[in-house]
Amino acid sequence: MALLDIKNLTLEINGSTGWIKALDKVNLRIEEGEIRALVGESGSGKSLIVRAVVGAIPENWRLTADRLTWKGRDLLKISQSERRKIMRSEIAVIFQNPVASLDPSSTLGEQLIESIPGHILKGKWFWQRSKHKQQIAIKLLHKVGIKDHKKYLKAYPNQIADDIGQKFLIACALVSSPQLLIADDPTRGMEITTKIQILKLLSQLNKTRNLSILFVSHDLLAISSMANKMTVLYCGQTVEDGKMEQLRKRPLHPYTKALLDSAPSFRKDLPPKSPLSTLDGTIPTLQHLPIGCRLGPRCPRAQRECVKVPELRYVQDHFYSCHFPLIREKE
């Protein structure tokens, strides 16, 4: 059974011009122990999916889904406190911009210790428990590769570097030994060396703890080095979904192809000083979304049928949503 199963998730935001579908029938499935990448341009709704899963949706937004389940339990129907329990013990989230994710007015130690759930503590008396809390905190920091725990447990968020912050957030996330880690663009704006450290840490956790990871990013290079499966998102619609190698070798959706072509590191045949390939135009604003397939106006293969939203089709376990997939060239 899938850990997280999302079917036809639609998120509407009440804008000045009426309700806008920021996410339009998004599908996503995460199995146990896999690393799934969620890829898309900025503004394609990646972070909104994360917010929908963790339940951080403002009350003036409208969320509907055919299925939004965590291990078979419907997340939309269970109560706030049950959901919080799941968030506390089974799902963990880390965000981009780690320093902004930490309360600037309390120390890292305080924040790490307060996320330790009470039931895993040993000892009856509060001093025993607080000592145990300290031990857990130090152990966790060592696990994520922060060696100088004395310095960092007492530090305030404005005193630490980005990579320490992200490692620290991963430590916070690991406190309750979750089954799923949602990493929302955790390496954004980091230098390459610190980025590699974070990515290595994540894949190592995936192997040693059988931790499933939903890795949200637009950094294709990072994704291809660690993910097993990939979901491509464009403008709030899932366009393609499948195994990483399959998608890389033979993308079916024109957008996936354009996305992969736009990353020079994936194109070894690219001659020097040749122009990089891009799609014409830009990602539309939320107020001016095209009807039907949202890639329509920018798509090189678009035809009249594209004003209707394409059905989700599949070849084995490779899903795509396009009227004119690249598969036809072969026929």
């Binding site: 339940g55 951080a56 968030m87 963990a92 989230v93 007015s105 996320s115």
Partner: protein
């Protein structure tokens, strides 16, 4: 780090006071009339006395020498005489300033007690009915002119209902000797027979002016607090705290309240200046024997030494309060202590 902050603020205070004293000294020359008369407040003196005064205040020397003597006199409390009452200005100010500070302090305290919790309530209930109604109430309170509000209060509560006295600080029946200038402390210190009755009377006199000041200030404080709470609750670290599985109460009390208060405490300090200005108007209307009332009378009567001294006293108070709240906010923010990471 803490010490550096304190020293820095202290420097700021000293420098600002220095500039203020230069300004007030230059007023001696800038006001129309004889600079010596403007400085001492003594009119129609005999030629011998005049000669003596000229020498005493260094008018034969340079401006800098005069300023130095002026500073010395300021420190010694010789601020000159008032034209209208012929009394020493220092004495007049030390009688009127505490009355104003008392009024402003009570109004500020009451505004904080009303405004801050209401702001938190509205901020947490953002987009809900209670938020909108509190916001609407604050717009009304914010847009009422203070003088009009005071007059309406007098009209309704003093003249029609007769609940509160019309003007003054305490009923004339009670003769409380002036000691500190703060009514309640004076009543407590005096060996007056009916202390309870005197305190009651003072309280009754205090209510209307305080309330007229509070309504405006509380609305401002409410709006500042509400905005800050909304901003903090929408921030990334609050979202992260929720995803870490903390309950709403834990998030609000451990991460919300302190972060919402830290940026707005200096703004409260700035509000004190606005409050004091409003207090001056209220004092005139309620015949409150404060410095605002006194200063406005001085302006009417072209009492130049009084205007100079009053300006200096009021601005000194405002600056001290502003710098102190600033310092307080800095000390309250733990993130500022300890080493900081360099930003590129």
């Amino acid at each position: 780090m803490m010490l550096i902050q304190i020293i820095r603020k202290f420097n700021l205070l000293i420098l600002t006071l220095f500039v203020l004293s230069i300004l007030s000294f230059s007023l001696v020359y800038l006001f129309p009339g004889d600079p010596l008369v403007n400085l001492t407040g003594l009119k129609d003196v005999s030629p011998e006395t005049r000669q003596y005064l000229l020498e005493l205040h260094g008018f034969d020397g340079s401006y800098i020498y005069q300023y130095w003597l002026y500073l010395n006199n300021l420190v010694e409390g010789q601020w000159g005489l008032s034209f209208s009452s012929d009394k020493p200005l220092w004495e007049e100010i030390s009688q009127t300033l505490p009355a104003s500070m008392e009024l402003s302090a009570y109004a500020l305290l009451l505004s904080l007690i009303i405004g801050v919790p209401a702001g938190f309530l509205a901020g947490f209930q953002h987009y809900k009915q209670s938020d909108y109604s509190l916001l609407a109430a604050s717009v009304i309170g914010y847009s009422m002119p203070v003088f009009w509000l005071s007059l309406i209060m007098i009209l309704v509560f003093s003249l029609q209902l007769g609940w509160f006295p019309l003007s003054g600080r305490i009923s004339l029946l009670f003769d409380i000797p002036h000691q500190t200038g703060f009514t309640f402390i004076d009543i407590f210190l005096s060996d007056f027979e009916f202390k309870d009755a005197a305190a009651m009377s003072a309280l009754q006199h205090l209510i209307l002016p305080t309330l007229s000041l509070t309504i405006v200030t509380a609305s401002i404080i409410f709006r500042i607090t509400r905005r800050s709470v909304i901003d903090v609750m929408a921030s990334q670290y609050i979202l992260t705290a929720y995803t870490r599985g903390l309950s709403s109460l834990q998030v609000v009390f451990r991460h919300g309240v302190r972060n919402a208060l830290i940026p707005i405490i200096p703004i409260f300090g700035m509000q004190f200046a606005v409050l004091l200005t409003n207090a001056m108007i209220v004092e005139v209307i309620f015949s409150w024997p404060g410095i605002g009332n006194w200063l406005i009378q001085a302006i009417y009567q072209r009492d130049y030494p009084a205007i100079r001294a009053g300006m200096l006293a009021v601005s000194t108070i405002v600056i001290i309060v502003t710098v102190c709240t600033d310092l307080f906010a800095k000390l309250l923010n733990p993130a500022l202590t300890g080493e900081r990471r360099a930003q590129i």
